[in-house]
C-alpha cells in the first residue's frame, strides 16, 4: 500500500555544489550555498572560540596559575562569549540551518530575497573579521560579551579594543536583521501551496519565531551600541554619571536584546530536535499544535523577562517580582516542549543514529539547564547564584548542551542532503560519546563551583578555597570535549573524501527536503509540491493514497530532464555592499574619510541592487514561480522593516523620556525649544506625505511625468524640513546646548538627529527614484518601487508625529 520510495542514489544533473567555478561562490545568491558558507565560517569561529576556552581552562586548572595574563584572560573570555553567541550559535542556527533546511522544508525555490541573503552573509563575515582584527591593533576587546557600561566608557577602557567590539556588533546586527527579515518574509509568504501555518514543519515554526525575535531584539541593542559609540567617540555621557545619566540604561537596552537573544539561539535548536526525534522514532511529533503554540508563546514571553539578568542591580521589589513572575511563566511552554519530545519517544521504533543520540543528549541537558533557569527566576536564589560559576554551568547547559548539541544533531541529520555523502556512523559515535562525556565533565562540576562561591570572569583564584579539584576536573573535561569535536572534523573530512553517496531520502524522512535529490539541484524543486497535511513527504509516501505520486525524485529519475526554471541570477552587489559597510567600520576606528568612501560604495551598491533587473516588476520573481504566493514578498519585507525600525525609534524615544528632566545643568527642553518653527516644519512634513501619495498615484496610472514632479516636490519639502532642523540645531548650538552639554542635549540631538538622518535617506531615495524615472527605469509596472519609497517616507512622517508631541509639545508641560 505504501508507495515505493526510490532508495537508490538519484542525482540531479547539476547540483548546487558543483555548478560554476569557485569564484561563482562570491557572487552566489543560492540559499544552499550561502548556508554552506555560513556553516563553514561559523565552524571556523567555533574553533577559535574553543581555542580561547581551552586556554582559559588551562589557566583556571590550578589556583594562582600563570598560564595567561589577566589581560589576555579577559580578552579571551570576552571574545569566547561574543564569538560563540554572535559568530557561532546564532549564524549556525539561523544562517546555516535556516538557509539549508528552511526553504527546502517549505517547498520553495529560494528565500524571498536571494541577494539580501548573500548580503547578510557577507556583512556577517566582514563584521566578524573586523571585530577580530582588533587583535592586530592593541588586543581583543576585553570588557565582556555583555560590555557593561560604564566600564566600556573611554575613561575606563582606553584604546580601540572596545571600539572594534561596538562597531563590529553594529555591523553584525545589520546582518542579523537583514537575514531575519528575509526568513520571516519567506516563511510568511513562500510556503508551498496548501502548506498552512498548521502544516509547516515545526522547524520552520521555530525559525519563524526566532526571526521575529531578531527583528524585535536587535533594535534596542543597536540603540545601546549607538549610545556607546557616541560616548566613546563624541564625548556624550549616556552611560556615565557625569551628566546625570545612569549606566543601568545600557543593561536595560542590552538585556532587552540579550534575553530574546537566548531564545534566538535556542529556538532553531528546538526546531531541529523536533524534526530529528520524530524521524528516528518513526512517529509523528506529539502535540504539533501545542508545540507550535509553545514556540510562539516562548517568543512572546521572552520579550518581557530581561530584568531577571538584573536582580542584583536593585531595580526595586516591584520590578523584581514582575520579572520573576514573567520569567517563571516561560518555564510552562518550555516544559510543554520537553514533555512533547518525551511523548514522541514513547513507543517509538528507534533508529539509533548519531543524530538521534545528540538529540537525546540535548533533551536531558537542556532540561537540566532549564531547571536551573527556574532558580534564576527567583530573586532570592538568584542573588546567591548570579555572577557565579553556577550561572556559567546553567547557560552552557542551555546553549552548549542545548543549542550546540542540537546543531550537531542537525548537522548529522542534514549532512547527506547537503553534501550528497553519508557520514561514517562509527566516527560519529566516537564524536558523540567524547563530546557528550567531555561536555558534562566540563560543565556539570561548575554547578558545584558556583555553589562553592566561585565568581565568573576571574582569571585567577587563591589557594585554600576548595575549588582546586573540580577546576582541574573541568579542565580535563574540556580537553575530552575538544578531542570529541576533533572527531567531528575527521568524520566530516572522511565523509567528503570517502563517504558513500547519499540517496535522496536516507532517513525515510517526513518533510519535503527529502523528496529531492541529494545534493539538491540549484532550483530545489522541479515542480513546486502541493501539500495536503503535516509531514507532507511522509504523507506522500505512506499516506494511504497510492494515486498520489512522490513527485520529485521519481520524475527526475524517469525523465532525466532538467525543467526550465529560471533561478535568480548571481549578483556582485551583495559582497560589494558588505565591503562598503566594512570600510565604514574601518573608517570609524581609523580615518573618518574612509567612511565616506564606504558610504558611497554602499549607496552605489544599493542602487545597483535596486535596478539590477531592467524589468523589475516581473523578473525574477515571476519566473521563479512567485506568483503562486498570496502576497508580495517585497511589500511584506518593507512592512517588517518598518516595524523593526519602530522599535529602534522606540528605544531612542524611551531613552529620551527616561532621561527627561534629569539634567544637572540647563538649558533644558522647556527653556529652549521653539514651537512656532517646529510647528511649521511639522506641517511641511505632513504635506510632503500628501505629495508622496500623489506621486505614487501618478506612477500607478502611468503618468510618469506628474509622478516625477510630485516626487521632486516631496523631496523639496523634505529639504525644507531638514533646513528647519539645521537652523534649529545651529541656534541651539550657539545658545550653548551642544551634544555634550547636558542630558537634554545628547538625547535630543540623538533622537531628532536620527530622525533627520532618516529624512535625509528618504530624500536621497526619492531623488534616486525621480532621476531614474528620467531614464525610464520606473515604468508603470514598477510603481511598487515608488510605493516602497513612499512607505519609508510616510514612516519618517509618523515618527515625527510622535516626536513632535512627545518631545516638543509635552516637554514644555512638565514643570509648567
Amino acid at each position: 500500500m505504501a508507495v515505493a520510495v526510490p532508495k537508490e542514489v538519484v542525482k540531479a544533473r547539476e547540483n548546487y555544489l558543483t555548478e560554476g567555478g569557485l569564484l561563482s561562490w562570491l557572487v552566489t545568491v543560492d540559499h544552499k550555498r550561502i548556508g554552506v558558507m555560513y556553516g563553514l565560517t561559523s565552524l571556523a569561529f567555533m574553533g577559535l572560540a574553543g581555542f580561547e576556552a581551552l586556554a582559559m581552562r588551562i589557566q583556571l586548572a590550578q589556583p594562582n596559575n600563570h598560564f595567561l595574563s589577566a589581560d589576555l584572560y579577559n580578552q579571551f573570555f570576552t571574545m569566547h562569549g561574543t564569538t560563540m553567541i554572535f559568530l557561532v550559535i546564532m549564524p549556525l542556527g539561523l544562517g546555516f540551518f535556516g538557509n539549508i533546511a528552511m526553504p527546502l522544508q517549505i517547498g520553495a525555490r529560494d528565500v524571498a530575497f536571494p541577494r539580501l541573503n548573500a548580503l547578510s552573509y557577507w556583512i556577517f563575515l566582514f563584521g566578524a573579521l573586523f571585530m577580530y582584527s582588533s587583535f592586530l591593533f592593541g588586543g581583543l576587546p576585553d570588557a565582556g560579551w555583555f560590555g557593561y557600561a560604564n566600564l566600556t566608557e573611554r575613561f575606563f577602557t582606553p584604546g580601540s579594543r572596545e571600539d572594534f567590539w561596538a562597531i563590529g556588533l553594529l555591523i553584525l546586527g545589520i546582518s542579523s536583521i537583514l537575514g531575519a527579515l528575509n526568513f520571516f518574509v519567506t516563511i510568511v509568504n513562500m510556503r508551498a501551496p496548501g502548506m498552512t501555518f498548521m502544516r509547516m514543519p515545526i522547524f520552520v515554526w521555530n525559525i519563524l519565531v526566532a526571526s521575529v525575535l531578531v527583528l524585535v531584539a536587535f533594535p534596542p541593542l543597536t540603540v545601546g551600541l549607538v549610545f556607546l559609540v557616541m560616548d566613546r567617540f563624541l564625548g556624550t555621557h549616556f552611560y556615565s554619571t557625569v551628566a546625570g545619566a545612569t549606566p543601568i540604561l545600557w543593561q536595560h537596552l542590552f538585556w532587552l536584546f540579550g534575553h530574546p537573544e537566548v531564545y534566538i539561539l535556542a529556538l532553531p535548536a528546538f526546531g531541529i530536535i523536533s524534526e530529528v526525534i520524530p524521524c528516528f522514532s518513526r512517529k509523528p511529533l506529539f502535540g504539533y499544535a501545542a508545540m507550535a503554540y509553545a514556540t510562539a508563546l516562548i517568543g512572546f514571553i521572552s520579550y518581557g523577562v530581561w530584568g531577571h539578568h538584573m536582580f542584583a542591580t536593585g531595580m526595586g521589589p516591584i520590578a523584581d517580582a514582575a520579572f520573576a513572575l514573567s520569567t517563571m511563566a516561560i518555564a510552562i511552554p518550555t516544559g510543554i516542549k520537553v514533555y512533547s519530545w518525551v511523548a514522541t519517544l514513547w513507543r517509538g521504533n528507534f533508529v539509533w543514529t548519531t543524530s538521534f543520540l545528540y538529540a537525546l543528549a540535548f533533551v536531558v541537558q537542556f532540561t537540566l539547564g532549564g531547571l536551573t533557569g527556574v532558580m534564576h527566576a527567583q530573586p532570592p536564589i538568584d542573588l546567591q547564584q548570579t555572577g557565579s560559576y553556577f550561572i556559567v554551568a546553567h547557560f552552557h547547559y542551555v546553549l552548549g548542551g542545548g543549542s550546540l548539541f542540537a546543531f550537531l544533531a542537525g548537522l548529522y541529520y542534514w549532512w547527506p542532503k547537503m553534501t550528497g555523502r553519508m557520514m561514517n556512523e562509527k566516527l560519529g559515535r566516537i564524536n558523540f560519546w567524547l563530546t557528550c562525556i567531555g561536555f558534562n565533565m566540563t560543565f556539570f562540576p561548575m554547578h558545584f563551583l558556583g555553589l562553592g562561591g566561585m565568581p565568573r570572569r576571574i582569571y585567577t583564584y587563591g589557594a585554600g578555597l576548595h575549588w582546586d579539584f573540580w577546576n582541574m576536573f573541568c579542565t580535563i573535561g574540556a580537553f575530552v570535549m575538544a578531542t570529541g569535536i576533533l572527531f567531528l572534523l575527521i568524520a566530516m573530512v572522511e565523509s567528503l573524501t570517502r563517504g558513500p553517496e547519499a540517496p535522496a531520502d536516507p532517513w525515510d524522512g517526513r518533510t519535503l527536503e527529502w523528496s529531492i535529490p541529494s545534493p539538491p539541484p540549484v532550483y530545489n524543486f522541479a515542480e513546486i509540491p502541493h501539500v495536503h497535511s503535516k509531514d507532507a513527504f511522509w504523507e506522500m509516501k505512506y499516506g494511504n493514497n497510492p494515486g498520489h505520486k512522490v513527485p520529485e525524485v521519481a520524475a527526475e529519475h524517469e525523465a532525466g530532464h532538467v525543467p526550465h526554471i529560471h533561478v535568480p541570477a548571481p549578483s556582485m552587489f551583495p559582497i560589494l555592499l558588505a565591503a562598503g559597510l566594512a570600510l565604514c567600520g574601518i573608517g570609524a576606528v581609523a580615518w573618518l574619510r574612509i567612511t565616506l568612501v564606504g558610504l558611497l560604495i554602499v549607496y552605489l551598491a544599493i542602487v545597483g541592487i535596486g535596478f539590477e533587473y531592467p524589468t523589475y516588476g516581473e523578473h525574477p520573481s515571476k519566473e521563479r514561480g512567485d506568483d503562486i504566493y498570496p502576497l508580495d514578498s517585497r511589500k511584506v519585507g518593507m512592512w517588517t522593516f518598518i516595524g523593526s525600525e519602530s522599535l529602534f525609534f522606540a528605544s531612542l524615544i524611551g531613552t529620551y523620556m527616561a532621561y527627561k528632566g534629569r539634567d544637572l545643568i540647563g538649558p533644558t527642553a522647556k527653556e529652549i525649544l521653539e514651537i512656532p518653527l517646529t510647528s511649521f516644519s511639522t506641517f511641511v512634513l505632513l504635506m510632503s506625505s500628501l505629495l508622496m501619495v500623489l506621486a505614487l498615484a501618478g506612477f500607478e496610472r502611468g503618468d510618469i511625468k506628474a509622478g516625477r514632479n510630485w516626487l521632486f516636490a516631496t523631496a523639496g519639502l523634505g529639504c525644507i524640513f531638514l533646513g528647519g532642523q539645521a537652523y534649529e540645531f545651529n541656534k541651539f548650538y550657539h545658545e550653548g546646548v551642544t551634544l555634550q552639554h547636558n542630558l537634554f542635549g545628547q538625547t535630543f540631538y540623538t533622537l531628532v538627529g536620527f530622525h533627520g538622518l532618516h529624512v535625509l535617506l528618504g530624500v536621497i531615495w526619492l531623488l534616486t527614484l525621480a532621476f531614474a524615472s528620467f531614464k525610464d527605469m520606473v515604468p508603470k509596472k514598477r510603481a511598487l518601487a515608488v510605493e516602497f519609497g513612499g512607505l519609508y517616507w510616510h514612516f519618517v512622517d509618523i515618527v515625527w508625529i510622535v516626536i513632535f508631541s512627545l518631545v516638543y509639545l509635552m516637554d514644555k508641560v512638565t514643570g509648567a
Partner: protein, 274 residues
Amino acid sequence: MTRSSVSSELFEHPSVPLGVALLAAAYIIAARVLKKPVSRGQVASFAAALASLLFALSGPVERLADERSFTAHMSQHLILGLVFPPLFLLGTPGWMLRPLVRPPFLRQLAKVVTNPIVAFVLYNALLVVLHVPKVFDLMCRNEAFHVAMHLGLIVTGVITWWPLLSPLPELPRLSYPAQMLYLFLQLIPMASVAAPVSLAETVIYPYYATSTPHPFGLSPLADQILGGLFMWVGAGFYMTAVFTIIFYRWARRDDRDQPVILSDNGSQPAKARA
C-alpha cells in the same frame, strides 16, 4: 445598611434583577415565537451569562464595590466586560438576533459598530475614560451615571466580543489569525489602564480612600494595587487563555479542512490523520 436580607439586597438596585428578568423573558419568548430549537449548551451559556450579571451587580460584590472596595469594583467591571459578553454571545443563537438587524437602519448601524476597529475603539475608549480619576469619582457618587456606565460596559463589551464570537454570518467573525491579532491588541489598553493604577504610589481614587475600612483589612492603597493587578494580571491571563483557545481552534480547523484525498477507485476518502 449593616445586615440585609437577600431580598433587600436584590431590590436595592431593582434595575438589575429587572434587567436580568427582561433578558430571560426575551430569550424564552423569542425561542417560543420563532420556534427554533435552542441547544442545551446555548441555554446553559445564556443562563451563565445572566448569573454572572446577577453576581456582579447585586449581592455582596455590589455592596463592597459600592461602599468599600476598589478591588470589588474592578472585578465587577471585568465580569461585565469580559465574562458576560462571551457567554451572552455563545448563548444566543443567530436566528434570535437576526430580526433585530432586519430594519435597514439598524442593520447599517450594526455593520458599523461591529467593524473590528470601531468595536475595539468603543469598548476601550469607555474603559480608558472610566478610569480617569475624576470620571471614576463622579461615577461612584452619581448613581444614574454609574448605572449608565455599567450599561455602557455591557453593551460595548458585547460589541467588542462580536468579531470573535458573532453568531450572525452576515456580521461575520474575523478569521482566526485576525482574531488573535485583535485579542493581542485588546491587551494594550487594558494594561495601559491597569499599570498606572497598580504602580501608583498614592491613592488616586479618592472615593475609596475615605471609605470605611476594607473587609479584608487592606489599606486603601493596597486595595487599589490589588484592583489594578486584578485588571492587569487577572485579565491578562484570561485573555491569554482565550487567545490559546482561538489558537487551538485555528490549528484544528486547519487540520479538518484538509482537502479529502481520494484513493484510486475514487470512492473512499483517505483516513483523516487526526
